[in-house]
């Protein structure tokens, strides 16, 4: 590597992105423990895990690039797929939980899906 300044800046960026990623992952985990019901917990799980994993992977990518001169496509693909799959899994888990009858937190203020689901089930009941 040529200039020491550039190295220093890269090092700081790598450290920062790793730290930010780790911070978001930790707060996501604390959120999963603290929040009251499935749905609010899913908020914490889907959102903070995406940015956390992305931060750590960007850090690893920069590290490989600066130290070893490797452009690691695997890490970029990893970011891409985490971004793609986390919201989908959150959606599916919450949908499955709702249809399995997991109740909302008692302090929830509104539930517009309950009536729709009831009608749906009433419509399907005669068939089965």
């Amino acid at each position: 590597m040529s200039g020491t300044w550039i190295n220093l800046i890269f090092d700081i960026t790598i450290c920062l992105s790793l730290l930010i990623g780790a911070f978001f992952l930790i707060s996501g985990s604390i959120g999963i423990l603290r929040f009251p019901d499935v749905y609010t917990r899913l908020h914490a799980a889907t959102k903070s895990s995406t940015l956390g994993v992305a931060g750590i992977m960007i850090g690893a990518f920069l590290f490989h690039y600066v130290e070893h001169d490797i452009v690691s496509g695997k890490l970029l693909l990893g970011i891409f797929f985490v971004l793609l799959t986390a919201p989908v899994s959150g959606h599916m888990i919450s949908r499955a939980a709702y249809r399995a009858g997991v109740p909302l937190w008692e302090k929830s203020v509104k539930d517009e899906y309950a009536e729709v689901l009831k009608e749906e089930q009433k419509r399907q009941a005669p068939d089965s």
Binding site: G31, F35, L42, K47, S48, L84, S94, K110
Partner: protein, 158 residues
């Protein structure tokens, strides 16, 4: 549009063979040359220049990332608040997008915006039911978010 992408990739491969270095950098240089060629020759190739649409897609991704960062900050605020005083709830949001791909994209975007999580897409594909972390907070911003997202998605896919 598929034809243009294939052409572009072929040009990039040709550039790679012509310069006889088979790595990603050369491919990338070739791809950019291909974009320039397609731009210059766009009168003779069917369909409009596909980078226009790619640019819009890029803007959509930027929006996605911005919302992701904002929502993370939001969630962290809720996590470290000593008192649990949010008011979660589920509300219905009518949507205008039609095809499966567009609905998937919109549901994912909604999941990653601050304080919202898409729970169910209704059976006739006209509504998305959204779980919100903090109802009073969200409902002000949600219509605006929804309008801008839907507009961007429709720009990309049609």
């Amino acid at each position: 549009m598929p034809l243009q992408i294939v052409l572009n990739i072929i040009i990039a491969m040709m550039w790679m063979f012509l310069s006889e270095t088979y790595n990603f950098t050369t491919f990338f240089v070739g791809y950019i040359l291909g974009i320039i060629l397609l731009f210059v020759l766009q009168r003779f190739i069917p369909d409009s220049f596909y980078m226009k649409r790619a640019w819009k897609f890029f803007l959509l991704i930027l929006l996605f990332i911005r919302e992701l960062v904002l929502s993370n900050i939001d969630i962290v605020k809720h996590v470290y608040k000593p008192k649990m005083d949010m008011q979660p709830g589920i509300f219905a949001l009518p949507i205008d997008v039609k095809t499966n791909f567009e609905i998937t994209l919109l549901a994912n975007l909604i999941s990653l915006t601050p304080g919202t999580l898409s729970v169910v897409v209704s059976e006739d594909h006209t509504k998305i039911f959204i779980h919100a972390m903090d109802m009073p907070d969200v409902q002000e911003s949600v219509s605006e978010i929804k309008n801008s997202f839907e507009k961007r998605i429709l720009e990309v896919t049609r």
